[in-house]
Symmetry: C2
Subunit: 376 residues, 2 copies
């Protein structure tokens, strides 16, 4: 089946681009002597995971929900890092996975939470493996790698029902970098502070088997992984306009796009309407403050090339408004009603989450359909 | 089961508030002698639809996707308006529904599309019923009610394979109104232009059985429905912070909220972290340009009342950052790790779409779980 014949809106995944992205990251991390623990929150698909393993250099997975943990454990993954600060209400389900044979690591960043986890571990008869989250860039959660709280948290993990598994960081601040030189510095800062936290804990007598860092930008621009045991990244599998805006990839590296149909025009305003609205693209406006603002996405032809500078400048639930972007040069084509277009996403994780399956394409043809999970 | 014991994040639906919202709109529209064609794109649930019918005053449904049409047709709805400009690629599926007994109306706003639809209707051996979309506020699609194109579209519907079913408008511009007086004017403008378009078509010899108008704000502030045969609205079922900001409802009328757990703090910054991020709330920032910007939502206690002026000011995929809103007065409480909060959404349609089920509550207890559909 050809792209022209697919229902709209649907989510396209270009397998050749996916494979190129996976190989590029695998080569980079392996070249630094590192190991990848891919974050499955972007793809949520055992078929994409199979491609990841085929590309090599991975050990275990990172998940953002227990639904992902359940899904990938059922698909054969055993070594799972649940990389969202634990809530005590989730421990029963995690204990169930552990009893079934899963090796799950949780994360936390306070002694208070470590004590709650330990107490529930004793009640449930399990020993939870906890990584201490370290704050390396002030953007979200985590303990200060240089602070006294870090040692208190580790001490609180030294009791029945819990064990210290290591430390982890997420350099989400890399998304605010303006140049790739800044991302490179951020990557080194993340590595240095993660290793510093681990060394302080070791000096205090704690074993720290795992030193886990990551984010797609810092993974891609890491120049050293000394002292790091694993790198987590997710969005690099698909890439997106935000990553292209950061300089992490080119637009030709974006593996997913939404297929839409032209449903009408408001010619006096230069508007072309499509049936791909925010329900298909998500409400993510990640390029809003980048050098080029693509609205809700960049409009491509069926060949995967930008189409006359068109962007999805407006979106209602099932309607999108395509207009000429401020960055456009050259001629903008007049699209016919019924014509199909591809729309590249700002943020791959958000757009993919709007769909239950990937229409896997290669050379302009549908070659497979891959299901994806969702929920919590 | 009590709210404290539910998994997080999950989507709560307060049935008493839902019923109050449904009754209020039903009473208002019936008081004006009108009939409601509820838009199911907000709730996508046959259980909510059953509540809607129980509230009375409805005839048929409005859908935004063919997946909704299939789901609600299977649940017993026959009279269906598909209120997104038709794409020719969808006509085969619609013909299939029609052959199965569904009475589906499609919409279009160009003679070109009317001819494409007619041609496919002849090929498929069906007669598609088309409403002409009228543009009453310049915000999206539709033909000018005063323009010559309107008569050309109607003429293009006068051929085998298609028939003119009427006219429809969507006053989405009401979302930009600053006062309820402006919404009232917008409602009257919508009614007047819809009726004007219908009268011009009738004067040209066309039958115009349906004159369909709608949007939650204009439905709620309509003072007359003269000449209108039906009113479409969807978000009023749940209401949300955007509607409250418009003056369409109070915050106590918001029937859905996301239950989240506190997972940590960054006390030096005044941040409290929760496991409800944008995957749970959606990326919708609908209150950004209203008088009060709630970030990604307003934080409530389990009793459904605002909690010390806290808002969800930041959101990553599965992390939310709660901080004191700029509008807050009084004291902001210190939340404990593991504690649960409810977060009211900016936009009910977008937040509900992130979940597969409603946890239906009344009096602080879970009383039911209602599934909801998704996809296209």
């Amino acid at each position: 089946m050809y792209l022209e014949d697919l229902p709209t809106p649907c989510l396209l995944l270009d397998r050749a681009v996916l494979r190129r992205n996976l190989k590029r990251m695998a080569d980079h991390v392996q070249g630094l002597g590192g190991v990848l623990r891919p974050h499955v929150k972007t793809h949520k698909s055992q078929d994409v995971q199979a491609e990841l393993k085929r590309a090599g250099g991975t050990r275990g997975i990172t998940v953002s929900t227990l639904a992902e943990a359940e899904y990938f454990f059922a698909a054969g993954e055993r070594d799972i890092l649940y990389a969202v600060g634990i809530a005590p209400g989730k421990l029963d389900q995690i204990a169930g996975l552990m009893r079934g044979g899963a090796d799950i690591k949780i994360i936390l960043d306070s002694a208070e939470m470590a004590r709650l986890v330990a107490s529930r571990g004793v009640e449930l008869g399990v020993e939870f493996a906890a990584l201490i989250e370290l704050d390396v860039d002030g953007h979200r959660a985590g303990a200060d790698p240089e602070g006294s709280a870090l040692l208190e948290i580790a001490a609180a993990c030294d009791r029945p029902g819990i064990k210290l598994g290591g430390v982890m960081t997420h350099a989400g601040g890399s998304y605010d970098c303006k140049t790739t030189a800044e991302i490179r510095e951020m990557a080194e800062q993340e590595r240095r502070l993660a290793v510093r936290g681990a060394e302080r804990l070791r000096a205090a007598g704690h074993a720290v088997p795992i030193v886990s860092i990551g984010s797609t930008p810092t993974a891609m621009f890491a120049s050293s992984l000394d002292g790091v045991t694993e790198v987590r990244a997710g969005v690099y599998t698909f890439q997106d306009l935000v990553q292209a805006g950061l300089g992490v990839c080119g637009k030709e590296d974006i593996a997913i796009s939404v297929l839409g149909s032209v449903i009408g025009h408001q010619r006096a305003k230069g508007w072309t309407l499509t049936d791909a609205g925010w329900m298909a693209m998500s409400r993510d406006r990640g390029t809003e403050h980048q050098a080029i603002d693509y609205g809700y996405g960049e409009v491509w032809g069926l060949d995967g090339r930008p189409l006359g500078g068109l962007i999805l400048s407006g979106a209602n639930q099932e309607h999108g408004i395509m207009t000429r972007g401020a960055h456009a040069s050259g001629e903008t084509p007049d699209l016919e009603v019924g014509q199909k277009v591809r729309i590249a996403p700002n943020h791959a994780c958000a757009t993919a989450a709007q769909f239950d399956r990937y229409m896997v394409i290669e050379g302009g043809q549908l070659i497979n359909q891959w299901e994806r999970g969702r929920g919590w």
